[in-house]
Amino acid sequence: MTRRVLRSPTGLAGAVVVALLVLGALVSLVWTPFDPTLVDPASTWLPPLSGGHLLGTDGSGRDLASQLLAGARVTAFTAATATVVAAVVGVGLAVLAAVPRHGGEVVAHLIDVLVALPTLLLAMVLAAVYGGSVWTAVVAIGIGTGVNVARVARAEMTSVLGADYVLAAEVAGAGTGRIVRRHVLPNVAPVLVVQLSLVLALAVLAEAALSYLGFGTPPPTPSWGRMLQDLQQYVTVHPLVVVWPGCAIAVVVLGFTLLGDALRDAIDPRMRLPGQAAPAVEVLP
């Protein structure tokens, strides 16, 4: 399957972008061209490629390239952990809603209500109570996208549970736990993988939006969303610097989306038809 993903041009492009993000995040742990938080009043607003600053500096003299590199850490971390939370929430709720003979309906309706509570609002509610941090962002993004995953997964599980092989397993004496583990989960796994790869992309956008609004990564930790917030007040004088963090976010989101598309094609060739299903996950700013 990995080979099939890498052989398609979109899959390869997506994989390269994701690999670069992870590599950048790892490298920034041990090395960045300059200290990303180092304020240097002597070298503010340097243009790109001057004084050893690849992309130049911001209004406090901090190196932009180093900030981008260190920002990749927050992006990669938030995306990965939020997706793990989304997987747990999504699968857990979907199993509760689809499997039990009684009470599943209630959970299904609860999922629908939770879907109506937008992720960004949930993040703000958590930030209002606990103050904004990477963790409130991760929990909010994970739960907010997880309920959407749950909705899709529940539909898939319901159709699997109606299949003849599940009936056969039941007749053969398999318990609920065994049916879920042996039949339901493996059969919904492809759909889950595709949904979760979309969650990765959404998490990157959501983290940027939250940090921009001031409810994500607190200063001085560099993050792409907060870079945009910092640089915004100077756009009239130095408009070009906002290009870098914006492009970084867009490229990573595009990378995750392309990888998700390629995964979907590799897992289920039927979906490669022109009328391919559009992402079923909520779309965030």
Binding site: P118, M124, V125, V129, A208, L213, G214, G246, I249
Partner: protein, 316 residues
């Protein structure tokens, strides 16, 4: 149809109730003692207790919830514990900015996404279709806030056609300035949502293009375009209408970000300020208003879906 309406309305009411309970509990249980926060660490226990009584937080949770929801049903979202301002009055004022912003953005995104999406589907094997498709994919990946910044740089800073930020303090009493300051935010929001909508329109139209009934329509002598316009789009509209409901939710949240980028005094801006101040009564009201709007639109979309699709009307 009547049975459906009754069932769906009951479900809608239950969802609203569940959402209000959820929001209330989330904010009340997680937040700790509001009175202690307001009074500060220097306050004596007696002072805190009297403040608690004044705020009503010494009553049982169920009573507090009932008071709050009772007020909301009567149009009263409570009073801010910090500033003493009526939440409803402020929400009403802020909505005069947010409501037109969201409505215009919605309209713009539909006007752009539907024709382009259909075009991308018809031409999906040709260069034009691929270009539109790639463009929409990019539109989804670009963060809304960044698109807003770039538009502001180009149209406000360089070309000086439109204001970069803010809203006239006199509000709609200066209609020309008010409209001008909403142009860039509305376009930003419409671009982000339009890109998503376009993909749904495209895939819905593509799904219809291969259907048997379209081939039959062509066999009766209609041209490709004629058949698509007369029989295809009606069918493609169904999934798109359900997506529109979800889109409004995304638009409302997008409005929060766009209002921050363009410094617009709307509901989103109000929410940001109140979250920053931890003014929980107001946050509670704002989150309920936005979530309620999403649920209401979902309800309306479901009903509209029934009305458009005669097949659904017959079944059940």
């Amino acid at each position: 149809m009547v049975v459906f309406l009754v069932r769906r309305t009951a479900l809608f009411a239950a969802s609203l109730f569940a959402a209000s309970v959820l929001i209330f509990l989330l904010l009340q249980l997680l937040s700790g003692d509001m009175a202690q926060v307001i009074a500060g660490v220097q306050a004596t226990p007696a002072q805190v207790a009297s403040l608690r009584h004044e705020l009503g937080t010494d009553r049982p949770l169920a009573v507090q919830y009932a008071t709050w929801v009772g007020g909301v049903l009567a149009g009263d979202f409570g009073t801010s514990a910090l500033s003493g301002v009526s939440v409803s009055a402020e929400l009403g004022e802020k909505l005069t900015v947010t409501a037109p912003l969201v409505a215009v953005a919605m309209l713009l995104s539909v006007l752009v996404a539907v024709p382009l999406g259909v075009l991308a589907a018809i031409a999906h094997r040709r260069r034009l279709g691929v270009v539109i498709s790639v463009g929409s994919q990019l539109g989804i990946a670009l963060p809304t806030l960044w698109v807003g910044l770039v538009l502001a740089i180009v149209f406000a800073v360089w070309l000086r056609w439109l204001p970069a930020q803010g809203f006239p303090t006199a509000g709609w009493e200066q209609p020309v300035r008010a409209v001008r300051s909403l142009v860039l935010p509305a376009v930003t929001l419409a671009l982000a949502e339009g890109a998503v909508l376009l993909r749904f329109v495209r895939s819905a139209t593509l799904g219809v293009l291969n259907q048997d009934f379209l081939r039959t329509a062509r066999a009766t002598g209609l041209t490709r375009t004629g058949a698509l316009l007369r029989h295809g789009l009606r069918n493609a509209a169904l999934p798109v209408v359900s997506i529109l409901g979800l889109q409004v939710a995304a638009l409302l949240v997008g409005a929060v970000v766009v209002e921050a980028v363009f410094a617009l005094p709307g509901v989103g801006q109000m929410l940001l300020t109140d979250v920053g101040n931890r003014d929980l009564v107001k946050v509670q009201g704002e989150v309920l208003l936005l979530t309620g709007a999403v649920l209401t639109i979902g309800f309306l979309v479901d009903v509209a879906h029934r009305l458009i699709d005669p097949r659904l009307r017959v079944s059940r």
